[in-house]
Symmetry: C2
Subunit: 315 residues, 2 copies
């Protein structure tokens, strides 16, 4: 299961580790689609694309999302028309992906098949499944300072435009309750040898995937060991603004608290950073090691440690 | 009434002439939408955009269509995905227009209102109306050499991909019979002081506009003088491949034949080039002068001659 940047980078390490150590192994990724948004009529799936571009060598390495060597002619033109919103940085290369996706969705092709078609070009070396073919969009209730009222905005507006600075009173995955897992999702969890939760945002990435009825249950039911990698190191997110999401849910920003949020019903093992070596989670095996994904090789070693912990808890 | 390049250039001259000679005059353009096509789910209106970009100083002067200083990142990306068709040159700046148009059309905004919104940016100095808010698409029946059969293709495929080289057995405006004129079209013709037919393609531009029920009738009924400018000089189109269209309809490629095609029920005056000074059209006043639209000033003089002929036939 994976969100965007953190998940994609972890997957690149995992893929490298398996290619070296276990070349017959295959990876199925269940991607978060709660960040999806329709902009100018185009359907944008930021997390699926980040995984696809990262594993397909098309990502902007520096920023971690979007395409390398990107240009912004379309965005500039849309701004010249005065079209809103202008706070989302849609690049020209990236837009081609959204145009095709939107065209296919309009033709009735489900998102899982659309994603498979896009991956025919990118060959990410994993099977990338959206968590659901149904539309699920994370929305955030913020305190609207000006009017003193509560305002419901799309997650992307909160994250990208407001940089998660406006305290979230509530984070909710609109549409999740009636969504069904995409074809292959429940089966992948049931048939897996190991299930890994990468250091993605536990609320709006992993949490949203788990909010699709059937997925949490599949995770609880699978005979495979489930191991998570903490996205929190020394009380702060490695990257991104997961703390703002955790706070909104009343969860402390600590490796131990996130481990406890998943808890023993979901995970068997929890990998934390060396600085969090003291963290304990009731009913869960906790191990510590350096968790900074500085490069692919370092990340592959983190993935190896997660797989080793899985082997340990399976035994 | 106007098609693409020829119509747009004539309009630029007409606008210059009126600004100088009659600054309170206003121009309403009835644009051809039969060339419209949906590519990758985006609705493209080549003739409306050519008029809008030309009068709005955004046109690629050299090629006469598309945006100046254009880039093609999106097109290249779509090709990398293997998406078809690849024979239509959608530029990045141009695509922004199509994205907005498609978004608004999907929201239920009629094309005439979409066009007005786009013109808020371009300020073309004319009121630009599509001939109809209904979808009309010109299709061409060609002889499919390979299989010996007849094949129906979109006008753009014939024009852009095949360069009108495959003989057209039939040219038909699909949807025209049941289309209705866009709001303001019939009124503009009825209330006009002068109606001009610029040197646009008489079959697939002016002809398609006239194929919308009500427009030809409005032209016949208006009390305004109607004057056309020949798109044919010395037996050849000034630009484009109008000869291939005329041949498909059994009309000779000559200034006289096109004048007769419109005929006295539609036009009162017909302006031809000096080389066609001998052309006569029954029941229509014919005048000759140089018709090459070499620059805006030369084109303004052509427009002045058309207006003078209109004044003459009115008297």
């Amino acid at each position: 299961m994976a969100g965007g940047i953190g998940g994609a980078r972890f997957l690149r390490g995992l893929r490298a580790a398996l290619r070296a150590d276990e070349p017959t192994a295959s990876i199925t990724v269940i991607g978060n689609t709660g960040d999806d948004i329709t902009l100018f009529g185009l359907r944008v799936c930021p997390d699926l694309d980040t995984v696809m571009y990262t594993l397909g060598e098309g990502i902007d390495e520096q920023q971690g999302w979007g395409r390398a060597k990107e240009s912004f002619a379309v965005k500039d033109e849309l701004a010249s028309y005065g079209a809103q919103p202008q706070w989302f940085g849609l690049g020209d290369r990236d837009i081609a992906t959204h145009i095709l996706r939107t065209q296919w969705l309009a033709e009735g092709v489900p998102l899982s098949e659309v994603t498979a078609r896009l991956c025919e070009r990118w060959r990410p070396g994993v099977r990338l499944l959206p968590m659901s073919d149904d539309k699920v969009e994370t929305h955030v209730v913020i305190d609207d300072g000006a009017s003193g009222g509560r305002r419901l905005i799309h997650f992307q507006e909160w994250w990208v435009r407001l940089h998660a600075q406006a305290p979230a009173l509530e984070i909710t995955a609109v549409g999740a309750a009636t969504a069904t897992p995409a074809p292959g999702v429940v089966e992948a969890i049931a048939d897996a040898d190991v299930v890994l939760l990468p250091p993605s945002n536990p609320i709006v990435s992993i949490g949203t995937i788990l909010a699709v009825p059937g997925i949490r249950q599949a995770l609880v039911a699978t005979s495979a060991p489930v191991v998570g990698v903490s996205p929190i190191i020394g009380g702060a997110p490695v990257r991104g603004m997961a703390d703002a999401c955790l706070t909104a849910r009343g969860v402390e920003t600590s490796a131990a608290a996130v481990g406890a949020l998943y808890g023993p019903s979901l995970i068997d093992g929890w990998l934390v950073d060396t600085v969090d070596a003291g963290a304990a989670v009731d009913g869960v095996e906790v191990r510590s090691r350096p968790l900074l994904m500085t490069d692919v090789e370092a990340t592959a070693d983190i993935a190896r440690a997660a797989l080793a912990l899985a082997a340990e808890v399976r035994a």
